[in-house]
Amino acid sequence: MRYSAFSLVRNALSGNLNWKPQWRQPQPKPHYDVIIVGGGGHGLSTAYYLAKEFGVKNVAVLEKGYLGSGNVGRNTTIVRSNYMLPGNEPFYEFSMKLWEGLEQDLNYNVMLSQRGVIMLYHSDGQRDAYVRRGNAMWMEGVAAELIERAQLKKMIPFLNYDHARYPILGGLLQRRAGTARHDAVAWGYARGADRHGVDIIEHCEVTGIRRENGVVTGVETSKGFIGCGKLALAAAGNSSRVGEMAGLKLPLESHVLQAFVTEGLKPCIDHVIVYGGGHFYISQSDKGGLVFGAEIDGYSSYAQRGNLATAEHVMEEGVAMIPGLSRVRVLRAWGGVMDMSMDGSPIIDRTSIDNLYLNCGWCYGGFKATPASGYCFAHLIARNDTHPVARALRLDRFARGYAVDEAGAGPQPNLH
């Protein structure tokens, strides 16, 4: 189904009874050229770009739950490309550029809102670090602006500028960054992939990976055996479990990250604001709710729910930055399972098995990477060659001594 103003009018006049489902519900075929495990944002975008850009159309996406039930529907919808390291920034900027053309490409309203992401600094040292980061962004051709305190006060007057411990001295702003509607991204990619002939098979859990003579021949699933020429894993928080089925031992730990949304308010927060005294970040959804989150809970977890103490800590950070938040009621909190890598950066690579490909380690930054992750993963699967912007995101970088550690925290995932 293709959307246009005409289709909107026509369906409105016929009582909105004739809208078609956006993607088929096919039964699995016995064999596909490529099977993608995981029907989240990255799996779906991989399938979409495989079919559209790389001409691989005999593709299935296997999702154990319903489509969008994992992290793609659980994140805080922020898209940005304000990374520092040369191994990361070109990749995220590639993603940002794909975001900017995504609605036209998909013919789907993903509600991309380039409202600007501002990261606050609270000390001279932190200002220096952000100047450095901004310059690193400019080196890769990405605009960054340092906003000093007086200017920031005009832009965002409601912040707690004179906090005793974390006074707000300014911020680093990326104007092109912002938010997108996360569910629409999943649905848009699913519909796009489906229209290019990709089979999206929901409620189909992979229970085993069959191998013969050192290559993958297919997957055992809750809907029976499905053969494949190439197998691509995009299982996010469950990557270690799926990898284990093929004998892979991965540099990952699964952790739970919480997110929160408040009651709907009139428009009050125009940007995405990131607190520099902790991990707290906040934006306002188009429905009016304030969407925010902060640190992971700290212990490894596969539960899609978090700890109350962490919720309290997140609220404290928020109120330290915006005192007015204390008056707002929280409606909902939820948790998602993050595939935390050992350096805080993702992995898009081949594995020791020739026709098995791996996409994981997104930590809590996977949503913004959805387009580029899919594009680069599809490039890798179709051509067996790493995309230029994903060159640093290799699985063997730890063994070679080329970790891409933005936070400088070392191989301790609960600190990234």
Binding site: L250, P251, E253, S300, Y302, A303, P413
Partner: protein, 92 residues
């Protein structure tokens, strides 16, 4: 829930008092062991779904390293022992 940890030295304490190091079952290689052994020790994780043993450091209490046995899917805590006792049990 893993919100409260019963420290064998200090009693029931909130999880905020602890720094979590992670998997307690992997053994540290010898200094001259192979690069692969060290790579596996430093970077590779079993990352189990279910029961696991972890080192928790009671930094805001007795400052002892503890071994917490808990479930990563249900967050249930089964046992907490001092790391030395854990080692002695493993050797027995």
């Amino acid at each position: 829930m893993a919100s409260l940890i019963t420290c064998p030295h200090c009693g029931v304490r909130p999880k905020e008092e602890f720094a979590i190091r992670g998997d307690a079952s992997r053994g540290r290689p010898e200094p001259m062991d192979s690069d692969e052994a060290w790579h596996d020790y430093v970077y590779v994780r079993a990352n189990p779904r279910g029961r696991t043993f972890e080192h928790w450091h009671h930094i805001a209490g007795c400052r002892r390293f503890l071994v917490v046995e808990r479930d990563t899917a249900t967050h249930e805590v089964y046992s907490v022992v001092d790391a030395v006792e854990f080692l002695q049990r493993a050797e027995r």
